[in-house]
Symmetry: C2
Subunit: 383 residues, 2 copies
């Protein structure tokens, strides 16, 4: 076998598209990336000869990966935090550390930590019965949101309750629900930052996110907010990253209310969908900076390479097979396609498109045009 | 195994750094890349789970690869042209086609073709004896160049003969030598173009190349020549690409004489070292455009993303192990490192660095600073 020496060996728990794009960055830095994938159909499995097969909730599989790597990091949140604490106690190097990672794994813990640290969050309360929900509603009104403490993403694990009758229909048995005030959102935004092991922090341009059915469909930078508000988003995310001692990429999903109030919605402690635009759009991608950060290396510059950068997700719909139309889709000049090598399924993220332009609308137009070629049977996107 | 359907399956003969960087581009386009590598130590072998092991001069190994792919393309020139013709006659899809590829494989054939097509080339003649060399010298003077017809690269297979005595010391037995006039070169440049199967052509910015010991050490765009001269280089390369029906990336290495005369030195019909700057420096990289071209897909825009883009090679020297110093080298802001995963050896290309800047000198400075950190024992570069 090979006599080359990697610059470092990084383990990634999870073999999805984030691990796949991290591998593209790892190749450039001479990093040996070892991905823990569930099977050969995982997005990252086919782009490395070093895939490890196993389960992210198996302590043995996690330990096996950790033992082969200088540092262990994550493609997703679905790893039992107690396993991470155990591995850390055994001397393995996990980045971000389990205590910080928990803030992305447990929404109730995150909300309580944020509130206690005086970061702005929506009103919330853990609820274990219809009575709890009604008590919360007396304070914050109907309708309200019900969210799962953990495991929810892309709109899963979220419900809107219109009235007490709806609250009666929920099974509260597992103690996993949080009630949350329905905030009058003007725009949703995401602030991606990266924090290195030594404490160095860098912030990417703020993006506006456009959601459909709870899934992020598009991002655009600049976000179209005032420089003052963008500055507040950046400062808030940097302060959170420092307070929780985040390491690696952290995305802070934010609500901006009609009155210009900022509220933290969610934290992700890993490369994030709302940071995909950085691959072509910024001097250093979120994937390269995540690797630099978890290895304690200097961060790369995060400045944008064009006045406007848009990203649109390719989300599976029915029997669509976008890979058949790649050649056709590439006719849109300056649209950058990223396919994840996944079998199409409704609602599944299959890829994304990024475009740079002078104006936000022009960048979005290129992304939408490309996606419409890949998914001709879809109803055209109307913002 | 996986139920995803690739957008196309492309075979690459050769598992070096060009195949490695092509794989990074293939991942984005959902292309299944199958690389024919000699062994696990090849640069591209560790970045795919689909590496095929075999020899580029074995017809059986080539055929095995071709049978598994929609199209076959190349990482290097060291493939017997007769095997390519044989595979084409069997109905396999080779891009570029063997007839065009021969112009990169046989320097005498290329020189004769260029001369007969009235493209400017240095004076040359095949030589089989000291007498042949002296006859050539009567026309073009001493000193002169002696070059191998095939197999030479990175300065190998090239000699300068000072006088008739030097000509006596050469073994001419295999009929592999060409004599060539020593041209008074003002600058060396490279024009990278890409031509798709349908005939669409796009040109990258002209680069000036800086050589040391016959190896390209640096490239910089803009090349520092007049717009008129840059236009002539572009037009010349586009005309050659059309005339030879090149498909994929083609690099035309050019001599510019003190009198502003252009001469074609070499052709490469594959992604080329002098096109590495396009990964960060241009809207679409040479690797992505090579894939688009050989698949008959639309080409991506080739415009530059910054006023100046420089590239510097990391070339092995002695016992240097640059991978140990990656973390330190990343402190240069905006320098983009690419390591090839190869065991260090003197003269071996181990990686490269690219930087974008407002001015050429600033971009070069970032590249040189990065390389000096990776190779601290090297004598600092003096241009």
């Amino acid at each position: 076998m090979s006599a080359w020496r990697p610059s470092a060996t990084v383990g990634v728990v999870g073999g999805g598209q984030l691990a796949r794009m991290t591998q593209q960055a790892a190749i450039d830095l001479g990093i040996e990336l070892r991905v823990l994938a569930r099977g050969g159909e995982d997005a990252a499995a086919s782009v490395s000869s070093l895939t490890t097969y196993g389960e992210p909730d198996s302590l043995n599989d996690l330990r096996r990966l950790a033992e082969a790597c200088d540092v262990l990091t994550f493609d997703h949140e679905l790893v039992p935090n107690r396993h991470l604490l155990q591995l850390e106690s055994e001397g393995h190097n996990l980045q971000p550390r389990p205590r910080a990672k928990l803030l992305a794994q447990d929404k109730l813990h995150a909300r309580e930590f944020m509130r206690d640290s005086e970061f702005p969050v929506p009103e919330f309360a853990p609820v274990r019965s219809p009575r709890d929900v009604e008590t919360f509603a007396e304070r914050c009104g109907w309708p309200l949101m019900l969210k799962r403490r953990s495991g929810g993403y892309d709109g899963r694990g979220v419900r809107v309750l219109a009235d007490p009758r709806a609250a009666d229909e929920v099974a509260y048995g597992d103690g996993q629900w949080i009630a949350e005030a329905l905030v009058p959102i003007e725009i949703e935004a995401s602030q991606v930052v990266v924090r290195a092991r030594g404490g160095e922090v860098a912030a990417y341009p703020l993006v506006r996110t456009i959601q459909r059915d709870g899934i992020c469909v598009e991002t655009v930078a600049p976000a179209g907010v005032s420089p003052e508000l963008a500055g507040r988003c950046r400062d808030l995310a940097i302060e959170i990253a420092g307070r929780i001692e985040a390491v690696g990429v952290m995305a802070v999903e934010l609500f901006v209310t009609a009155r210009g109030e900022l509220l933290v919605n969610e934290l992700a402690l890993r490369p994030h969908n709302t940071g995909h635009f950085t691959i072509e759009g910024c001097e250093t991608s979120q994937f390269e900076n995540h690797l630099r950060a978890v290895l304690g290396w200097p961060l790369g510059p995060t400045w944008p390479l064009a006045p406007a950068v848009a990203m649109r997700n390719l989300i599976g719909s029915g029997f669509n097979e976008p890979s058949e139309r790649v050649g056709a889709a590439l006719r849109v000049p300056g649209a950058h396609l990223h396919l994840y090598g996944k079998e199409p399924a409704p609602g599944r993220k299959l890829g994304h498109v990024t475009a740079l332009a002078e104006e936000a609308e022009e960048a979005l137009r290129k992304c939408r045009e490309t996606i419409e070629i890949l998914q001709p049977e879809e109803v055209p996107w109307a913002p």
